[in-house]
């Protein structure tokens, strides 16, 4: 099934997400991010309105056809064979075009330049580090942990308290989600949310 192609994907099951922020805090803690950076964030809509409140966790979706990679003027993005979208902070000029192109608001910018200008872009790496030597000090400094190289699950999904956040090969993620939907017997989605948005099938 997934012997030939692996495409690493995130999916957040909003029927299970309870806005505990475990993922975002675990992410920030694991990668020692500056406080202004939210590689992953949890969003609640209709808070306090009966029957309408729901939450979901969002970060870089590691698109197959990543718009950020398309617009980057300096081509600092690269997509690994397993589908993880990464970028090179040494090349990045912090222009912010990726943010305009991203449908999910994944790119984050530290406000550390002169007069409050943007620094080099930072985003979810699916805990796969960056182009530097794997597990080197520089990689740790710039991109945080490289858990994928150690055979570990990305820290957000590992820490998810209700296992709402799924990560892995898209086949596996969809299998798990399909099982949940089948067990629940309702709430079937025609396509993952954001799909239409990102790929313009409206």
């Amino acid at each position: 099934m997934s012997d030939y192609y692996a495409r690493m994907k995130f999916y957040c099951d909003e029927q299970r997400c309870i806005q505990c922020d475990g993922c975002s805090v675990a992410c920030a803690e694991a990668h020692e991010l500056p406080v202004g950076i939210s590689r992953r964030k949890v969003i609640t809509l209709n808070e306090g309105i009966e029957g309408k409140e729901f939450s979901t966790s969002v970060a870089c979706m590691h698109c197959t056809d990543a718009p950020c990679e398309q617009v980057c003027p300096v081509d600092c993005f690269y997509i690994r064979e397993d589908g993880i979208v990464l970028h090179d902070k040494d090349v990045c000029i912090g222009c912010g075009y990726c943010l305009f192109a991203c449908p999910f608001g994944a790119p984050q910018f530290p406000q550390d330049g002169a007069f409050g200008t943007k620094g080099a872009m930072d985003k979810c790496t699916m805990c796969a580090g960056g182009p530097e030597e794997t597990n080197s000090a520089k990689e740790r400094e710039l991109y945080g942990q490289n858990r994928i190289a150690e055979g570990k699950v990305p820290v957000c999904a590992a820490m998810c308290s209700t296992k709402a956040l799924l990560v892995g090969d898209s086949e596996d993620v969809s299998r798990v989600y399909r099982e949940r939907v089948a067990a629940r017997g309702h709430g079937v989605l025609s396509a993952p949310y954001g799909w239409d948005t990102a790929y313009g099938n409206k």
Binding site: P73, V74, I93, G94, P103, F115, Y193
Partner: protein
């Protein structure tokens, strides 16, 4: 003004430029662009009503998944972002052609019209046209705009620079120098290029200056208006892009607005570039001897008599 001239020949420059603009607008908005015109129109209306979120349909009226898309990822990604992606990609390919066309156009103009030259017999008989302050502003404007163009291009044509520390430096100085350009633009707008005594004058004549009442060459006026209008768009969009810092918290509320601002920035910079070239051409190439005057502030009286009698007349009016 001769009365037997037709309306067309009187206003030839305005009409031609307007037609050109209309053709450009038509080509761009009705043929080329892929953004959702109707949405952008409604969005701009809602901005004037004070809502910059771009969420035109109330969240409550949407179903759960639409809410999720809008509430988490921002409103209607498909309306502006694809155009930005496309415009961005095409700029890298198109802009060289545009500049080539502009270059060719000015070259042709130079070939056919040649270089105007004043016959100067008394080089020492000069008139002070620009005060020091005006010279500083005018020259700073040229230098800053050139720098902004270079750094702006270093972002757009990042594929050539390949990124790295120098391109990064140019990118953030683009933001800061751009901030510095805003007051210069403002001063230039009210000084209106030729009026050198703005700061001494009562404010009653401010409108005259801004709207350039009086006698001017049509191209001069067009150039000025374009500079004011597109400069305003550039300064505003650039400032807002810098001012509204993108954070995870404000993302949903400002991303669409920022996209619109970036789009405005792209458009305005593309249009203003033509007029900047025109200005530089007219300063440096079209007329000989103007550039030294711009630097020293003084021009030979004969130069003015031959090429810019209106300036001389006005100055004399003031002296009396």
């Amino acid at each position: 003004m001769e009365t037997n001239k037709s309306f067309f020949s009187q206003n030839k420059a305005y009409i031609l430029v307007s037609l050109g603009f209309m053709a450009l607008t038509y080509w761009y908005f009705w043929l080329a662009t892929i953004f959702d015109l109707n949405y952008v129109y409604q969005f701009i209306l809602s901005i004037f009503q004070g809502d910059i979120s771009g969420q035109l349909v109330p969240l409550e009226d949407m179903n759960r998944y639409q809410q999720m898309e809008a509430g988490v990822f921002g409103p209607r990604y498909d309306t502006i972002a694809p155009e930005i992606t496309r415009a961005f990609e095409e700029r890298q390919e198109l802009l060289p052609y545009v500049f080539a066309v502009e270059f060719v156009a000015f070259t042709i103009a130079f070939i056919f019209l040649g270089r105007k030259k004043a016959v100067i017999s008394k080089p020492d008989d000069t008139v002070l046209v620009y005060s020091l302050f005006q010279r500083v502003v005018l020259l700073l404007n040229i230098v800053i705009m050139i720098y902004l163009f270079i750094t702006g291009f270093s972002i757009t044509f990042g594929n050539i620079t390949g990124g790295g520390a120098i391109a990064y430096f140019m990118r953030w100085t683009h933001e800061i120098v751009g901030l510095g350009w805003i007051p210069i633009w403002l001063i230039l707008t009210v000084i209106a290029f030729k009026d050198h005594k703005f700061f001494k004058r009562p404010s009653g004549k401010l409108w005259n200056k801004i709207f350039l009442r009086g006698k001017y060459k049509p191209m001069y006026r067009i150039n000025y208006y374009a500079y004011v209008a597109f400069g305003f768009l550039l300064a505003l969009s650039g400032f807002l892009l810098w001012f509204i810092f993108p954070t995870a918290e404000n993302y949903v509320h400002v991303i669409q607005f920022r996209r619109l601002m970036l789009f405005m920035h792209f458009m305005a910079s593309a249009v203003i570039s033509f007029f900047i070239f025109e200005t530089i051409y007219s300063y440096v190439i079209a007329v000989k001897g103007y550039l030294p005057g711009l630097i020293t502030g003084r021009l030979p009286r004969e130069y003015l008599e031959e090429l810019r009698p209106d300036v001389l007349v006005e100055m004399e009016k003031e002296n009396n």
